[in-house]
Symmetry: C2
Subunit: 569 residues, 2 copies
Amino acid sequence: MINEISGRELKSASLAQLNEYCNELRNEIIETVSKCGGHLSSNLGAVELTVALHRVFDFPKDKLIFDVGHQCYTHKLLSGRAKVFHTLRKRGGLSGFPKHSESEYDCYDTGHAGTSISAAIGFAKARDLKGEDYSVIALVGDGSFNNGLIYEALNSIKILDSRILIILNDNGMSISPTVGGMHDILGKIKEAPTGAEVFEHFGLTYRGVVNGNDLGALLPALEEAKELLKRGSVLLHVVTKKGQGYPFSECAPLLTHGVSPSAPKREYCSALGEELCALAETHPGIVAVTAAMTDNLGLRPFFEKFPDRAFDVGICEEHASVLCASLAAGGMKPYYAIYSTFLERAFDEIIHDICAQNLPVTLCIDRAGVSGADGETHQGVFDLSYLSFIPNLTVAIPKDIGEFRSMLRLSADCPSPLAIRYPREGTEGEISDIEIGKFEVLHSTLSDIVLLAAGERCLNIAWEVRERALREGFDVGIVNARFLRPLDEELLRSLPHRYVFTIEDNALIGGLGDGVTRFYRRVGSSKQVKCFGYEDRFLPHGEPRELMELFGLSAEAIYKEVRAAHEGR
Amino acid sequence: MINEISGRELKSASLAQLNEYCNELRNEIIETVSKCGGHLSSNLGAVELTVALHRVFDFPKDKLIFDVGHQCYTHKLLSGRAKVFHTLRKRGGLSGFPKHSESEYDCYDTGHAGTSISAAIGFAKARDLKGEDYSVIALVGDGSFNNGLIYEALNSIKILDSRILIILNDNGMSISPTVGGMHDILGKIKEAPTGAEVFEHFGLTYRGVVNGNDLGALLPALEEAKELLKRGSVLLHVVTKKGQGYPFSECAPLLTHGVSPSAPKREYCSALGEELCALAETHPGIVAVTAAMTDNLGLRPFFEKFPDRAFDVGICEEHASVLCASLAAGGMKPYYAIYSTFLERAFDEIIHDICAQNLPVTLCIDRAGVSGADGETHQGVFDLSYLSFIPNLTVAIPKDIGEFRSMLRLSADCPSPLAIRYPREGTEGEISDIEIGKFEVLHSTLSDIVLLAAGERCLNIAWEVRERALREGFDVGIVNARFLRPLDEELLRSLPHRYVFTIEDNALIGGLGDGVTRFYRRVGSSKQVKCFGYEDRFLPHGEPRELMELFGLSAEAIYKEVRAAHEGR
């Protein structure tokens, strides 16, 4: 374990000592991430920058806001959390992202891209209104600089007359390589900093380009920025090397962006890439869109095979949605692959552009349900809720990777918007013919009880509940509730069971359970419906299985209710 | 009524004839808007520009996409809809926004700001992939140019290698005067067009500044742009005068942005301004935030009285949310006033920034429920659904303006996120003490039936239903269901009635009815719950009352069910 260093030591250390300390930090991060998983290359790139910030500024009095937040490991190690750093991303341990509940050094929680400059402005205004005196710093990567929220914030710096320091950590990568017009501007500036005039229009004094892996250059640059900050807002342009100091990571920053502690099982995203490639052969209208997540979503094969029909627009979830809508309006068949939690950013566009116009866009929603070690800001437990009420939209939940493939094949000729949501990992399965809005009875029984489960994880729980029931001498039916919209009303109507249990890997409010309950209410049924999903709270980080059990989806707890129903209690 | 002009006539007319025709169009728009309501000044400003576009391009083969879409009246008059223009914004008549279902000349529906450039890129890509040949034009106001979605799209023009024509209609106004860094850039360019280099970085050939109310200047500029468009993307910077040709509108474009056909009743937004001003005297932490809607939301008095504590960030709904979250994290008490439909744009930030951090931001959600004449893209019928499942959030629905005032007073010391949703118009009412999560029994009765209604409109319906019941000799209870989150479980548990009816001015899926049903399901109650709200479809334009009756909230239809329940059927 790394030695805890005090703020005082950091402030008085020599440059050589600081460099030595950066090496120790780097080793600690590599060691911990190899055990706990996490973001490796972005953290390795930001070691010197974070050390320099802690040297020059006074945290937690001064406020440091990390955009996205995945590059905060050095900050955690420097703010009293070295002793518990080995608990990183484990249930009950340190979060992989800034968490105010964890330390006062984390003044603002992040996880999604683009919020840091807005947040810095808010702190700066609050400071000025309260007559306080501290510096506010937004540390933002060039990948986030494509995001609309960043632009909205930049645009309002003058309006709000706030003094903030923006550190642009330019490593030329978001998760995939950074792309776009702003990237070109930054490139030009790197060649000739006089081109930085555009930032002056936004009320920023520009300084750069500084080598962000060189403390000797960084420290004076930060000192100067701190001085400038007394008079107005500053943009300090720093270039760092993602994965600095770790040969494997330097060579392949993409592969080490997020590191899993163990080898993954079969992933849904691989099937997405395979199926889209196959379908695209016979469907010339098919195009694929991603917001800087080509690899994580399995789209690499499609991008290689159909480069003209594959679009990575950078971290721009909203633009990607409107692009899909208009591609569809123009006669194409777009597939928009995205993580469940990031799709929240495109909520308005799903309603306003895709569904209100009833355009045939397919949303491929990965990392749905609890997603695990990344915690609150990355759980995909709201999508069934926020998609449940959008007119014209079909919402499908495959029971395994085979059924996911079948749904993708079905989607190719679907004339209206379709969302398919799935977790990261799963098992293969059969290809089958699927009809929109039709559930599948997996186990039929004359007992009083039927379990309607959505998706592989929940069906696994359902089978486990049935095992327990069989051991105690009774049986339960199991239905694959593979569509949230439309529900299979015919099947719901015909179920002979008195007790209907729903199980979903989603918040309990607004999902499948509420839909089934609504149906039975509407038809005046006397069935008893019992619903299982997640509690009404934000779910912290931990192993998916662990989180499921803790927050609402434990086979044991569900079985208890099943048995009570069986006994007529 | 204006004479319908054919495309051929328009293409062969002399400049003098075109100018004469612009006068006729302008008169037609003024006359119709004065009868039907609608957007006056933005449409008057865009008459020449639209005529010139129709002269130079070939619609519907070429594609014209209006940002926001409220400036499309001339386009409608020029594309075969002059004869029905008098039906503008009336139920069953022409929409005030582009509607593909209305005309093939409207290739893409809009309503919210910032989508046009993304949409243009999508059409251009579809065109190229399909080997078609047409021009794609995005017509966007400078107000939208602050929006993050615009920036995301600009940023991807190079990536996507698309050829589009962006016409920047610069009138220096969004709804309130345009503000921000981009505004400054545009101002600099107007002084010296050489400053337009920033657009070149984004892959755009810049041309301008052209007087957009002068056909003599516009026509050659558009011809040139059309030529340039063969080789790449073009930004044509046009300056128009909002309200051009209508003295009253030219002087006061703000007042004529949206025009109502008759004088409004009492508005909730006035109470917001009054209460916030009063509260701010005793609560130094209170600040107000708006996204370019100061007047429409009633915030003008606050902006005048507390200029340092009032922030208009332009059409940046997301940035406004994060700004509120961080102002709260910095110790302030922010109020974010916004229309229900536009808050959809900030959905992710409500979850990720405000509620996940449990920050004491108050969302003042105006135009909730059906909002009427603006149609599909402006109805506020999803907010109860999309707020229902967000942890840490309280959601309140006042029964009248007095109760709204009471809730605002309550909010001032509320330590967690609070949303208050209300329609535009209402009646005053008493100030009272309100406890979070407590319903109010308005009429108690021993009958079998109780109506739980949320908000003034629905309570009015409930009283009307009771009137009908009384006339037929029975009574029903009435409860003011003023909190969606948390529900008043104690009251729900204690209701003696066998039939519980819920009435809400929101989509039926995911709102109050589902919440009440969920509660009774959870406690295993045998109550019969019947729910009334809007059907699962997008609601077109029309008078609010008319739409309510047509799509789910008719006192007559509800009474029918009430009587059936009373009769035990």
